[in-house]
């Protein structure tokens, strides 16, 4: 797709956002589709929810306001009207009209200025919230793009035009409150709770899960982070499909764990040995292929 999607601005819209370059993978997200898992609908939403909600708070938006999630940066865009914007999550070089913004957490964008967000130094997912939010078609109540099912607005492309919601007062959150955690040295420790199927695993497998320094594999996306390392020995287990949650550490017959992220399927048939905590799953959502991950039981 080369032309992008044009969302017709609705009444009350006071501007537009035009994409010049979309980067590797940039999508519209809000906090996702909740309450529909029993119909087979994944939640979707940002891979790093904390950074996403922070971006919205910085520009005075309600936390669930649609904003942009980019993977490995590469986004360039202009606004038709002057607005505040916030950049959070994986820290990346940000320029306005080619001039480097020293602290991009809260940026004022003049009308027509070109905002460019480069490749992050650490982590992989950077968030851009614009004051007033971007407008996108809601599917089943949410503007989130779900990569598993294709629900929600298509990924951004060069030429995509999105409407902007009406500007609102920017609260001036102190910048020192604005930092969000990303795995700066490529090594992440994620806490997890045992269960629901930890009792299917023997002591050696449980020990291997926590003793191993896992590596994030190249087959990692918004559905799940695949880990490589010495495999657990459990092998194939017959388990009827059951509901799964974000953060679930699923062990397929290969013995190498998959940690479910935002676009995970609502049911799964492989045993889940543990679930990464709500806090630390955001960190896993920032990992890149090759990063190291240690899983430690939550106290």
């Amino acid at each position: 797709m080369t032309t992008g999607t044009i969302t017709t601005p609705t009444t009350g819209t006071t501007g537009t956002l035009t994409v010049a370059a979309a980067g590797v993978a940039t999508t519209v997200q809000d906090l996702g589709r909740t309450g529909l898992a029993h119909l087979g609908v994944p939640t979707a939403g940002p891979a790093d929810r904390r950074s996403f909600t922070l971006a919205n708070r910085l520009v005075g938006n309600p936390e669930n306001t649609p904003a942009l999630e980019m993977t490995l940066g590469g986004l360039e865009l202009t606004l038709s009207t002057a607005r505040y914007a916030a950049v959070t999550g994986a820290p990346a070089p940000v320029t306005v009209n080619g001039v480097r913004v020293p602290d991009p957490t809260l940026v004022h964008l003049p009308a027509g200025a070109r905002l460019a967000i480069g490749r992050p130094w650490a982590g992989c997912r950077t968030y851009l919230a614009v004051c007033g939010g971007v407008e996108a078609t809601r599917v089943l109540g949410s503007a989130s793009r779900d990569s598993l099912t294709g629900l929600g607005p298509p990924p951004l492309a060069a030429g995509t035009v999105l409407g902007l919601g009406p500007a609102r007062p920017v609260p001036g959150v102190p910048v020192e409150l604005a930092f969000s955690a990303v795995p700066v040295d490529g090594a992440v420790t994620a806490r997890f709770r045992w269960g629901p199927r930890d009792d299917l695993f023997d002591a050696a497998d449980r020990q291997r899960l926590t003793a191993t320094t896992w590596r994030i594999s190249a087959q990692t996306d918004r559905v799940g982070a695949r880990l490589t390392g010495p495999p657990l020995a459990i092998g194939s287990v017959h388990l009827p499909s059951e509901g799964t949650v974000r953060g679930a550490i699923q062990i397929p017959p290969s013995g190498e764990p998959i940690v479910f992220l935002s676009d995970h399927p609502v049911t799964g048939g492989y045993p889940v040995i543990g679930v990464v905590t709500d806090t630390d799953i955001d960190l896993v959502g920032q990992t890149l292929p090759g990063d190291e991950l240690r899983l430690v039981p939550a106290r």
Partner: protein, 222 residues
């Protein structure tokens, strides 16, 4: 981390906000309806019945212990069938019967009939005569697992799934039937097609079928 409840049911911890309820002796669909009907259901984010379990996800992690107590009491009441807020006496969504006309000309129908030792017409008759019930949704939006496939038609899934199955294809595997919502791969045996759309993201609600509904398949066309 697990806890025992009445009747062999167990609560298994599923993260900061989740309990996976194992409920031998109960149909997960009915247990899910009872949980949704409870006065405290507003504290829940998701209630996801599957083959033998119900996943319950709370809005707030702080409510997990209280939620465990409530689930345990609900299961206890169900086990003795008392007049409390148990499963047998709890309010239930009226089970509906949904008729789905099917043109039985699927690519796998002949192979299914042969493996079942039936003629093609007999295979169709067995399928239309089955007591099909919506057990749960999973795999993809609107993918409803319908229990109740009659015995001679029960087969394991295809060795190799088809890459993309269009909306409306009626297919069987194990003791279940599915009407594909469209746009997914599929490893089930395709026996027919229906023009009835059971899943429409633009409709409210998007699902024409609800858990617990009866489904009657009706043979139509050439």
């Amino acid at each position: 981390m697990t806890g025992a409840a009445a009747g062999g049911a167990r609560l298994r911890r599923a993260g900061d906000r989740g309990w996976l309820v194992e409920c031998p002796g109960h149909r997960p669909a009915e247990l899910a309806l009872a949980i949704r009907a409870a006065s405290w259901a507003a504290e829940l984010r998701e209630v996801v019945p599957a083959a033998t379990t119900v996943l319950v996800v709370a809005e707030h992690a702080a409510a997990m212990e209280r939620l465990a107590g409530r689930l345990t009491r609900l299961l206890d009441a169900a086990a003795v069938g008392d007049g409390g807020d148990g499963i047998r006496s709890g309010p239930r969504a009226a089970a509906r019967t949904v008729v789905i006309p099917v043109r039985y000309d699927g690519a796998d129908l002949d192979a299914v009939a042969a493996r079942a030792g039936l003629t093609r017409a007999e295979a169709v008759r067995r399928h239309t005569g089955g007591r099909h019930t919506v057990a749960f949704f999973g795999f993809a939006p609107g993918f409803a697992y319908l229990d109740g496939l009659p015995e001679p038609l029960r087969l394991p899934r295809l060795d190799s799934p088809r890459a993309r199955v269009p909306a409306g294809v009626v297919a069987i595997a194990g003791n279940q039937t599915v009407v594909y919502p469209g746009g997914t791969p599929g490893g089930w045996h395709q026996i027919g097609v229906t023009t009835t759309r059971l899943w429409d993201v633009d409709a409210t609600p998007p699902n024409r079928l609800a858990i617990g509904d009866r489904v009657v398949f009706e043979a139509v066309g050439p």
